[in-house]
Amino acid sequence: MNKLLIAIIAGAGFATAGDAVAADAAAGKEKSQLCAACHGPDGNSPMMPEYPKLAGQPADYLEKALRDYKKGARKNPMMMPTAQGLSKQDIKDLAAYYASLKGDLKVKY
């Protein structure tokens, strides 16, 4: 009985910790076709002057940007509907993928 209780509590704890989803850059690559159409296949060659390069941008910044587009805190006619279709896991994966790419971006003083 005690063992069962411990197992249940441990299971609940694991599920809570699992709520903070782990990022998977390889899965992000699989999900990036739609992004590549505008930001470039390498995330470093945007199709329009006003589109950003993504390659090498910090993952937590990219996540924040996608979350803001999704909830409407950042308004953009292209990105708001695009982000609507992304789950928490998708956002983590895509951010990890683009953060892992090497492009032109760097910290400039």
Partner: protein, 109 residues
């Protein structure tokens, strides 16, 4: 007939002025002298914002200049929601934005 060609010419003039908005030409040397408010966060590798959420600030070096201008304008209008960036962007003229964009876009230095 004459009126018709005049009307067509008028339509062309309107569509041309819509398609080519007046963009300020950016001067990277002038931009370098306007980075005082940017460098304290964006010039430090790994710098994190503390408010309203904690995440790394985006890299600006090498970014698409048209995107930098678009982002600053979005902060200024409130389309993009960030208290510090709204205050800073609101203090910038279109020429300041273009100059800063031209300065940061060059990733070679």
């Amino acid at each position: 007939m004459k009126f018709r060609s005049l009307a067509i010419a008028g339509l062309f003039a309107v569509s041309a002025s819509v398609a080519v908005p007046l963009l300020a030409e950016g001067d990277p040397a002038a931009g370098k002298n306007k980075t005082a408010m940017c460098a304290g966060c964006h010039g430090i590798p790994g710098f994190r914002t503390a408010y309203p959420e904690i995440y790394q600030v985006p890299k600006l070096g090498g970014q698409n200049p048209g995107y930098i201008v678009a982002a600053l304008k979005a902060y200024k209008t409130g389309a993009r929601n960030h208290a510090t960036m709204k205050a800073i962007a609101s203090s910038l003229t279109e020429q300041d934005m273009a100059d800063l964009a031209a300065y940061y876009a060059d990733a070679s230095k």
